[in-house]
Amino acid sequence: MEADEVLMVRAQAGDREAFGSLATRYETPLFRFFCRMGAETDAAADLFQETILQLYERLDAYDPARLFRAWLYGIAHLVWKDSRRQAARRLERLTRWATLERGLPEEPPAGQDLDAGLDRDLIGVAVRLAISHLSEEHRAVLILRHYQELTYPEIAEALGIPVGTVKSRMHHALRGVKSDLSRKKVLEVG
């Protein structure tokens, strides 16, 4: 199997097949990354498409000396953050209208957008909720390390932060999830 970096160089030279191979190779990992960050399945599919579009538009900007995977996740993370900003603005507008028309509370209940039933396994749901309670930064690091299996240096490059910060966020995230799951008696040890 050709390395990502080789395919990317071919894509830069105009090889459509190589670009297609890269998109296919990262279809499932990126889709799942967006799902785990908190997107619904339809939204995750849109975000994946947006990431591939951004990848295509930035083909010339890629430096083959850099690890492609970290670069791609950097783009995906930016796409995710942009989508959250837009969603927050939309939610704010909708909440204002709802408050005006029906007198609903301003604050949406915690975890409201996470009850779509992606997973019927109760432990899976507990994990999902525990991770959703983490801050955006801690969640991104935990997901990239545990589920996407990026190394610490790769995460550092993707998120544009020092490796030390990645490690401390990972520690913080694990502590948070562990204490959440222990409180709900999902974890038996500790």
């Binding site: 296919t24 994946f48 538009e57 010339d60 900007a61 930016l78 994990v127 974890l187």
Partner: protein, 280 residues
């Protein structure tokens, strides 16, 4: 080994990389220490529990659709639009720099005389800044904070040197030096080119370096950062000296500087992109 450190190392063992010697030390600590043994088991359990969260597979043909959508976009048109947006962004930054400079020019009124040593110090300050900028470019130390530090260093040196390097005295000396040639075409051209180079080189290098450093976020944003840094930290110093050197011919110098302030970042970003493409 203390338990707090052991806990950190347990996470490092699970998710990072531990040297063999540290791994051995950790294992022997965990064997002896009951709480750490529980922590280790708990971390193992946590890792396997995290795996219980399953997410669905992507819908069929998702990648194929995304590729088709991307390839059918008029890429050249969007690239041209992006380039136009970049030029306008840099034009704006150039205008900001020019506005700052005009304020500073208006404020620096010539009064005193200047020792030759002071001129030498000005040269040394700018040589240090140019040197740092090129060193970054050549060694690919692509960090915004390095660039910011360099710019701050340069600005700091200029501020420290200000009591010795009286700007009006520079102006006065130049006035005497160019007294005979003022108004001549040759002197105007000389100052135009000098102003352009003086302004253009640092901002060009900054833009090229920033363009490569920030390509994962946005090439345009890289140029923007370079321009803002330049406008805030370097431009005032540049233009103060421009004013001093070009007394009576400020407009000519400023025209060259403004042109370079607009063209420099764009050219820098273009070179950064070309280098990346060539490396491919």
């Amino acid at each position: 080994m203390e338990c707090d450190k052991a806990y950190d190392l347990l996470i490092e063992r699970e998710y990072g990389h531990l040297q063999e010697s540290v791994q051995d030390e950790l294992s022997s600590h965990v064997e002896r220490c009951e709480p750490c043994r529980i922590e280790a088991a708990s971390l193992d359990e946590l890792a396997s529990t995290l795996d219980r969260w399953r997410v669905p597979n992507p819908p069929p043909m998702l990648a194929a659709l995304a590729v088709e959508r991307s390839l059918n976009l008029p890429r050249h048109a969007s690239a041209a639009e992006a380039r136009a947006a970049r030029v306008f962004a840099h034009l704006g930054l150039g205008l900001v720099a020019a506005a700052l400079s005009m304020i500073l020019v208006a404020g620096s009124v010539p009064r005193l005389s200047i020792p030759a040593l002071s001129l030498g110090l000005i040269g040394a300050v700018w040589a240090a800044m140019y040197g740092a900028a090129f060193a970054q470019a050549l060694h690919r130390v692509l960090r915004m904070r390095t660039i910011a530090r360099t710019a701050l260093l340069g600005a700091g040196l200029v501020v420290l040197a200000a009591p010795v390097l009286s700007i009006p005295s520079v102006v006065d000396a130049c006035r005497q030096l160019f007294a005979g040639a003022r108004g001549s075409f040759g002197l105007n051209m000389l100052l135009f080119v000098a102003g352009g180079l003086y302004t253009g080189i640092p901002i060009f290098v900054s833009a090229a370096v920033c363009g490569r450093a920030l390509e994962t976020t946005s090439v345009n944003r890289g140029g923007g950062h370079a321009g803002v840094l330049f406008a805030i930290l370097i431009a005032p110093a540049v233009y103060i000296q421009c004013a001093a050197l070009a007394l009576g011919l400020v407009a000519t110098w400023m025209a060259g500087s403004l042109l370079a302030a607009v063209a420099g970042p764009t050219a820098g970003i273009w070179v950064a992109t070309r280098i990346a493409a060539r490396q491919a």
